[in-house]
């Protein structure tokens, strides 16, 4: 087997509300898992999905601890050597199409209006699916590409009529009097996954297992001491305890990829292709998913 690395690099992403990851780091589970092997763990912050798969492609990252479903599929389909080894979260209620208090009050009312949000992401998929459910297409709205912070700012500044938002940006809009037109609940099934560099998985399955072990410990802590976990997460994300408690029930952190998850990933790929964002498709189960050999 190839020599053990001196260190491994795992991305650290707190937003929108990645409680298990926050707990895992705060409680030092990762360090504990790798210290016996004399392996240092680095947890660089790389929030953008595209940046994460670019870093994986560059060999700079071994494990992407939280990667959006769209990013995982886009990256893999375009040749990035990554494998999905588990689910991180599912949170349809955390993703929403929002507007100001005086904004359009239904999906239908969005026709011809300006909507901002990050293109090529789960939120893009949400908008497309929500429109499709009302027999509309993305082309029926004026869809502008912008990241969450900009979309939030543009919405509050009255520059756009609606925005697709999540996490803290959604809370901020709510706090400013904004409304939710719809969440993803019942519309799409956004999920995030745990992804690893393919070569890393092939060479060091034992290390990947250790990582998953640490992840499992964090989940156990969430189950056993939810209040403590919430406090840790709220502090790390500088959220008020109330906001944290609001968001808590929106998330399902179970790590196993279910048949439903698989269907959702396939729907996600379908959306990407139909929206013209993906030219090549992959076999989700064979090309993307991987189990960690014992």
């Amino acid at each position: 087997a190839p020599a053990r690395p001196r260190s491994i690099r795992v991305t650290y992403v707190t937003a929108p509300f990645n409680v298990p990851l926050i707990v895992m780091r705060a409680n030092g589970y990762l360090q504990e898992a790798f210290a016996p092997l004399d392996i240092a763990v680095e947890t660089p912050v790389i929030t953008s999905g595209a940046a994460q798969f670019q870093a994986i492609a560059a060999g700079a990252i071994d494990i992407a601890s939280v990667l959006g479903d769209t990013s995982a599929i886009i990256g893999r389909a375009n040749g990035v050597d990554l494998k999905v080894i588990g689910a991180f979260s599912r949170s349809p209620r955390a993703f929403a199409i929002m507007t100001r208090a005086d904004g359009p009050d239904s999906i239908e009312a969005l026709r011809g209006r300006t909507v901002g949000g990050p293109k090529g992401t789960t939120l893009n998929q949400l908008l497309a699916a929500a429109l499709a459910a009302r027999r509309m297409r993305l082309a029926d709205v004026n869809y502008l590409n912008m990241d969450l912070a900009a979309a939030r700012a543009a919405l509050l500044a009255g520059q756009i009529d609606a925005a697709t938002l999540a996490g803290a940006d959604a809370m901020a809009v709510t706090a400013a009097g904004g409304r939710i037109i719809t969440t993803a609940e019942g519309v799409t099934s956004p999920m995030s996954v745990i992804a690893v560099r393919g070569a890393f998985l092939a060479e060091h399955p034992d290390l990947v297992r250790r990582y998953l072990g640490a992840h499992a410990r964090a989940l156990a802590f969430l189950r056993d001491q939810p209040a403590r976990a919430l406090d840790i997460a709220a502090a790390e994300q500088k959220l008020s305890p109330e906001d944290a408690r609001t968001m808590w029930p929106w998330y399902d952190f179970s790590p196993a990829i279910s048949a439903a998850d698989l269907r959702n990933l396939e729907a996600c790929q379908h959306f990407l292709v139909s929206a013209g964002m993906l030219q090549k498709t992959i076999d989700i189960e064979k090309d993307l998913l991987a189990s960690v050999p014992a």
């Binding site: 999905g49 595209a50 798969f53 670019q54 492609a57 886009i74 990256g75 389909a77 375009n78 040749g79 990035v80 901002g116 293109k119 090529g120 502008l144 590409n145 912008m146 990241d147 912070a149 900009a150 700012a153 543009a154 500044a157 520059q159 756009i160 964002m277 993906l278």
Partner: protein
């Protein structure tokens, strides 16, 4: 991309944005630098503000720019202009400070008004430094495109690049990079040629040739 004309469209849009933002910056920076170099009092008031602004990353200001300028063309030009402003401004200030006072005195004994001193002596004498500032800004007008087209853009080479990055299309990123590089070189060369035609006495950037 070439075949269906998308690349041409993205290029045209970005060229227009880069040039408009650049010209906007020049049209404010150049007169302002001249004005401030002649008027110590307004200078003392304005300079700290400008010095402060000069350090701020335009990416940090994007939410603010969205607030002030919206998400349309104005915001994109704003990002480009904000990046291009200071090289021209500092280049001009530096050039003005270097102007040979002996030549200015020639104008003063000829009874030239302040404005004539500026147009007939100070600006021509400061021109080499101003040109350096212009060239730095011109380069940055292209560099600013990605930042400018990060938000609410659906066209432009910056948008093309960011979009391709998000879509893991390294080949497209590369095309965008190459087009920006070549186009920037071309514009730089044309600008220099035009400036040298208009002002044949300018040093050719040929180095000190010692």
């Amino acid at each position: 991309m070439l075949a269906d004309g998308t690349l041409v469209r993205h290029t045209a849009v970005s060229l227009a944005r880069a040039m408009a933002g650049f010209l906007l910056a020049v049209m404010v920076a150049l007169p302002l630098a001249v004005l401030l170099s002649l008027a110590p009092r307004p200078r003392r008031l304005l300079e700290p503000l400008l010095e402060f602004l000069r350090q701020i990353p335009p990416l940090a200001l994007i939410p603010l720019l969205v607030l002030w300028l919206g998400i349309g063309e104005a915001q994109k030009l704003g990002v480009v202009a904000l990046t291009c402003f200071f090289p021209v401004f500092l280049g001009t200030l530096g050039g003005l400070a270097q102007v040979d006072r002996k030549l200015v005195e020639v104008g003063r004994v000829c009874g030239l008004a302040q404005s004539a001193l500026v147009s007939r002596i100070i600006l021509p004498a400061a021109m080499p430094s101003i040109v350096t500032g212009l060239r730095i800004s011109l380069g940055f007008s292209w560099r600013a495109l990605v930042g400018a087209e990060l938000i609410a853009a659906s066209e432009g080479l910056g948008y093309l690049i960011v979009d391709a990055q998000n879509m893991a299309r390294t080949d497209v990123v590369l095309v965008g990079v190459v087009v920006i590089g070549l186009l920037g070189m071309l514009v730089d060369r044309l600008t220099r040629m035009a400036l040298h035609r208009a002002m044949p006495w300018l040093p050719r950037d040929g180095g000190a040739d010692a």
